[in-house]
Structures are given as C-alpha cells and as structure tokens.
C-alpha cells in the first residue's frame, strides 16, 4: 500500500482517485484477484493515489444470502462512519473499500490493514451468528406454537 498525492492529469486543480476513473493506464497497477473458492474472492485494484478492495462473502443458502445482503447494505448506507468504505460495492462483489492517499496520511498503514482484515473476519462471524440466531428463534417460536396443542 504505497499511495501518494497525485493531481488529476486531465482536469486542472482536481484530485481524483485514479482507481475509480481508470482514465490513465500508466497510473494503474495490475489488479490482484485472490479466490478461496468460486463463492469467496477478493479483488485488489491499485493506482498511484488510491486503492480499492472488493470482497465477495460466502453465501451457502438463501437465508445467508439475504442476511449478507441486508447487513452489507446496512453498512454501506453508513459508509461515512467508516471513511474507507464505498457506498456501493463493485459489480459482482458484496462490499468494497476505497482507500485514498488522504486516508493514508490520516491513518497508520498497519492499523488500516488490520482494520480491513478484522472487518472481513467480523463480517463472516456476524453472518454465521445471525443465521444461527434466526434458526434458534424459529425453533423457540415453533415450540411455543406446538405447546398450545398439548
């Protein structure tokens, strides 16, 4: 993660994250795609002044699917609280981070990386816990309903 300030080459006095615009190929590095399997992958796109990390989270069944969508949409809508989170994920992925040179200057690099790794772990853990909680609640409610017949 080596980012530096780089003003826009096309528009005067503008400073834009080049990884989003992709207008100047000389400012972009080769994207890296890390796949655990077909359902889980991570795309890292880098440029001179910005970095974009996109994640696709594992969704085993329909319940995990809706829980993941709900949760990640909830977080994306509150992206300003996270600063480095993108409001809309990149197409084909569930959540995206956009780190610019300004974030790099304000925050420590190793802390930023730790945050992203911990975020990924927490998301998976939270979705598993949510699924288990929903099933447990369903079981309790079903038990209470059937008690009425006895």
């Amino acid at each position: 993660m080596c980012l530096q300030n780089f003003p826009c080459q096309e528009v005067e006095r503008h400073n834009k994250p080049e990884v989003e615009l992709k207008t100047s190929p000389e400012l972009l590095l080769n994207p890296v795609l890390i796949c655990r399997n077909e359902a889980e992958k991570c795309l890292i796109e880098t440029s001179i002044n910005s970095l974009r990390i996109s994640l696709k989270v594992k969704q085993a069944d329909e319940l995990e699917n809706i829980l993941t969508k709900k949760f990640l949409r909830f977080l994306s809508m509150r992206a300003e609280a996270f600063q480095v989170l993108r409001r809309k994920p990149v197409q084909g992925y569930d959540i995206s981070f956009l780190i610019t040179n300004y974030h790099y200057e304000d925050m420590q690099k190793h802390k930023l990386i730790d945050f992203i790794v911990q975020f990924m772990e927490d998301i998976e853990k939270e979705i598993s816990e949510l699924k288990m909680s929903v099933n447990t609640r369903g079981r309790l409610v079903a038990t209470e309903f059937l008690k009425q017949f006895i």
Binding site: I66, D122, V134, G138, V141, A142, F149
Partner: protein, 373 residues
C-alpha cells in the same frame, strides 16, 4: 382475529372501569381492532344498571357463501357466557352482528368479577371459534370427491383463506402462505422447517404433525389457480381426535385461526431482531476504526511535544552562539583597551611572549548538542 389473547384488552379496560366506577358514567365508545372487528359500548347515567355492547366481526365464510348473521347454535352458546349478567338484545343494533345488555350489578363482587368481564371481552373470539367448530362438525354432509371429502375453504380475511379437509381418521388444515417481500418468504420458510423438525421429534409426538411443501398438497387438487398461487408454500396440520377432545378443542381451534397472525408476528420480530444486531455490530466495527485513528493522534501529539522540546533547545543553542559572538567582539575591544591602560611599561617582544606562554587554558563547554531521537 389476529389477536393471540382472546379478550380484547381495550374492551376489558373500559368494562372494568365501568364496573369499578362509584358513580354512573356516560360512555359512548367505538373501538376498532385489526381493521375488521368493531365494538360499540354505550352507558348512560339515566340507566346506570345497564351497559350496551355491540359487536361487529367478520364471520368465517365458506368460500362464496357469506353469512350475514349468527347461527342459532352460536347465539345459544353466547347465552351461556357471562351467566345472568349478559342478555342478548334482538334485533342487534344496525351495522352490528350482536348487541348485548350487560348488568354489572349481577356480577359478584369478588375475585370472579374480573374473570366474568374477561369472558365478556373475549366474546368475539368465542363467536369465531364456535363457527369453526360448527363447520368441522357439519363436514359429513359435504359432497365427496373421489371418495374423499371436498376441501372447505374458510375465508376470514379476504387475502388469507385456508382449507379444512376431513378424512376418515383426521382433519387436515392447509394454510397457503403469501408474503409481500422475498426476505419474509425466506425467514418464514426457515421457521416452517424448524416447525417440521420440532413436530417430528419424539418429545412432541402428541402435537399435530406439520408438513411444509412449496407445491400444493394433492388434497387441494381442483381448487382455483388464485387460491393455489403462493410464494411461501403450503403448511398442513394433521389434526387427530386426541387434539379435539374436551378442552383441547378450543385451544386447537384458536391456534389454527391465529396461525397466519403468528407467522407474520414472528417474521416481523425476526426482522427487528436482525436490525438491532446489525446496529450493535456497526457500533463495534466503528469503534475499531476510531481506536486506530485515536492512537495515531496520540502518537502525533507525543511527537509534537518532542519536536517542540528539540526546537526550543535549538533556539536556545542558536541564541547562545549569537550572544557569544557578540560578547566576543565587545569583549575583545574592551579587553584590549583595559590592557593598554594597565600595561604602561612597554617591553618589545613581550606581547608575543605573553600571547604564546601566558594564556589561560580554555575548558570545553558543558552545553553539548543533544541528538534528537
């Protein structure tokens, strides 16, 4: 319907207030519950002994047949509720199915008074439950289809019909499930699967077996396409004679009538639970980032302090050297003057000798430069 407690809480509250009032009260309340049940309570100071309660409730209909009044058996059953304190007024008030005249003076002033008032408040539930019981008892007269009884379509809410099919040794209640949102469908499907798992376990062998399927059961073959098109599948309960014996009949009927409401309540509560969990997790995730930023700020402050100390020292060092230079210059001029005054005897070459051999040794300065870390 759509009320898990049989007694209407608002109606019970008003009736208790009237019962406990020391002076006669003028009351004219209209209550609406769940969009389809209507109560009208009237009490006048000129007739303090009587209160009039009118009830309008959507009656269970069998498909296209819409009943407009209560059956004789239902009316007889209502007379049995509330003992002497309740009389049926005929005809009922316009726009209502039933009007009751309540005499609070005939309700005993002991612990049973609350029980009686609760029974009166639960009149609507009693009417609906008795209707279903009557329909189930009269199923034998229905037309048979391929040796089986034809399904009876019961419509309480226009968009939520359910079917009752009587078979030789059991009654099957089939509920077509429909939901507005896809996420509701998935949450409900997870609930139905848990219902099937719990019902099929040894512990719950006494409960009616429950089956969920995404396609209509074979018993509903021949029904209209509108009734069979769902997005939440079909839930079937097999009711045996042991589930309708004695007091269990009432509970079973009430549970079946409230099944839709139960499922929708569970789905709504689950959505609220998911939302609360997400908010909690959001707070914990944001804290991690804030912690990282605050640690950075703390380190910057510390670095800033160190830098200031170094700058001050440098400033001192620079100021010292300047003053030293100035002092040297002024000192040199002054010292030469003093020397000229003091040393009046001039010896040729002595100055050179003095400069070389009679100098005081210079000591190194204690103020050294401290390297900044």
């Amino acid at each position: 319907m759509a009320c898990f407690e049989r007694a209407s809480p608002a109606l019970k509250d008003i009736l208790l207030k009237l019962y406990r009032a020391e002076k006669p009260m003028e009351i004219d309340h209209q209550l609406y519950e769940f969009g389809s049940v209507q109560y009208h309570i009237q009490s006048s100071a000129s007739d303090p002994h009587h209160t009039y309660l009118s009830i309008s409730t959507p009656l269970l209909s069998q498909g296209a047949l819409l009943p407009d009044k209560l059956s004789h058996a239902t009316i007889e059953m209502i007379k049995g509720v509330g003992s002497n304190a309740v009389d049926i007024v005929e005809p009922a008030k316009e726009g209502y199915h039933l009007t009751l005249r309540l005499n609070f003076s005939k309700i005993p002033r002991d612990k049973d008074s609350v029980k009686v008032i609760t029974q009166i408040s639960a009149m609507q539930a009693v009417i609906i439950s008795y209707q279903l019981k009557e329909m189930l008892q009269n199923v034998n007269s229905q037309v048979t289809l391929h040796g089986m009884h034809k399904p009876i379509k019961l419509v309480y809410h226009p968009r939520e019909p359910f079917f009752v099919i009587r078979q030789p040794q059991k009654i099957i209640a089939v509920f077509p499930m429909r939901f507005k949102e896809n996420s509701d469908v998935i949450i409900a499907t997870a609930f139905f699967q848990e219902l099937m798992d719990v019902g099929s376990s040894q512990e719950w062998a006494k409960a009616p077996p429950c089956i969920w399927s995404p396609i209509p059961p074979p018993e509903l073959r021949g029904e209209t396409f509108e009734d069979l098109s769902t997005n939440g599948g079909f839930v079937s309960f097999d009711i045996y004679s042991r589930h309708v014996e004695g007091k269990r009949l009432d509970k079973t009927v009430w549970s079946l009538l409230n099944f839709y409401a139960y499922v929708k309540s569970h789905v709504k509560c689950t959505r609220g639970f998911i939302q609360r969990r997400m908010r909690k997790r959001l707070e914990s995730l944001v804290k991690v980032l804030q912690k990282a930023s605050s640690e950075e700020e703390e380190e910057e402050e510390q670095f800033g302090k160190d830098q200031d100390a170094g700058c001050n020292y440098m400033r001192k060092l620079v100021s010292l050297s300047k003053s030293k230079i100035l002092k040297r210059r002024s000192y040199g001029v002054l010292s030469r003057k003093i020397k000229r005054i003091r040393f009046r005897i001039k010896i040729h070459g002595f100055g050179r000798f003095r400069r070389r051999w009679l100098r005081f040794p210079k000591f190194s300065s204690s103020m050294g430069y401290t390297k900044l870390d």
